[in-house]
């Protein structure tokens, strides 16, 4: 599952700036399949958490309004080069996405 998540973490002053890009369709459940005429079921990441060296720093709930191939950027104070940032995401069908990066 690691290929679906791209992460970058770089120090900016005394905080680490983290950028995450997850490959995901983020289907809203509001679109109709033009071929079948049926509604395409919702399929979207709804929970994401981030940790710094194993300690939770971010706890997010997402709705269908987050864009396809979701991007999220956040910052954590007190990080340093070599620290580990991990992101754990789950979608509404239960698929799990995990990624981690070392702070540069």
């Amino acid at each position: 599952m690691a290929e679906e998540m791209k992460m970058r973490a770089t120090m900016q002053g005394d905080a680490v700036d983290v950028k995450v890009l997850i490959q995901h369709i983020m289907e809203t459940g509001l679109r109709k399949d033009p071929k079948t005429g049926k509604m395409i079921p919702a399929h979207f990441i709804n929970q994401v958490s981030a940790t710094l060296n194993g300690k939770m720093v971010l706890d997010m709930q997402w709705g269908v309004g987050i864009s396809r191939n979701p991007f999220v950027g956040f910052r954590v104070k007190g990080a340093k080069v070599g620290d580990k940032v991990a992101v754990h995401a789950v979608d509404n069908l239960g698929t799990v996405f995990d990624g981690e990066v070392v702070v540069a």
Partner: protein, 153 residues
């Protein structure tokens, strides 16, 4: 469907194995459970109340960075910074979306009250950011004009 079910069972198995190893308490992977009612509400004020942001006071200390005009409503960059001391969470809403609540973000253990993401906007709308800080709730908003709507339908 089978592959999704296999992934689900695999991931549940992995979570259970980690729980059994005592590395995390079951249920503590996320601090909060998904707020179905707030995320499916069709009205911003109602969603705000359901997510605990009801009765928010307008604040100039919430900075929302959005384009004045979004060329593509499917991908609108939104950055929110809260300069309110003691901020513990930020929520984002797009008033004119079928389900206005976009995200609810909790910050802890040194995370700065800042979030950057990209959202879908169905049409020109107010984008609202609400903040929980020190037991109180605050809010700010910006209008974003959308030329091509972004919900795909």
């Amino acid at each position: 469907m089978d592959q999704v079910r296999r992934n689900f069972l695999k991931s549940m198995g992995a979570v259970m194995a980690v729980c059994a190893a005592g590395l995390l308490k079951s249920g503590s992977v996320f601090a909060a459970t998904w707020n179905t009612q707030a995320f499916t509400s069709k009205d911003t004020a109602d969603a705000m109340k359901l997510a605990g942001y009801g009765g928010a006071a307008e604040s100039k200390d919430i900075v929302i960075k959005v384009p004045d005009i979004a060329e593509n409503g499917a991908v609108v960059p939104v950055e929110v910074t809260s300069n309110i001391p003691g901020t513990t969470s930020i929520a984002i809403f797009v008033d004119k979306n079928p389900s206005p609540m976009i995200a609810d973000i909790g910050f802890m253990n040194g995370a700065e009250p800042f979030i950057a993401t990209r959202v879908k906007m169905a049409s020109t709308s107010i984008v609202r950011a609400s903040v929980k800080a020190g037991g109180k709730v605050y809010t700010a908003s910006r209008e974003v004009k959308v030329t091509i709507g972004g919900c795909g339908g």
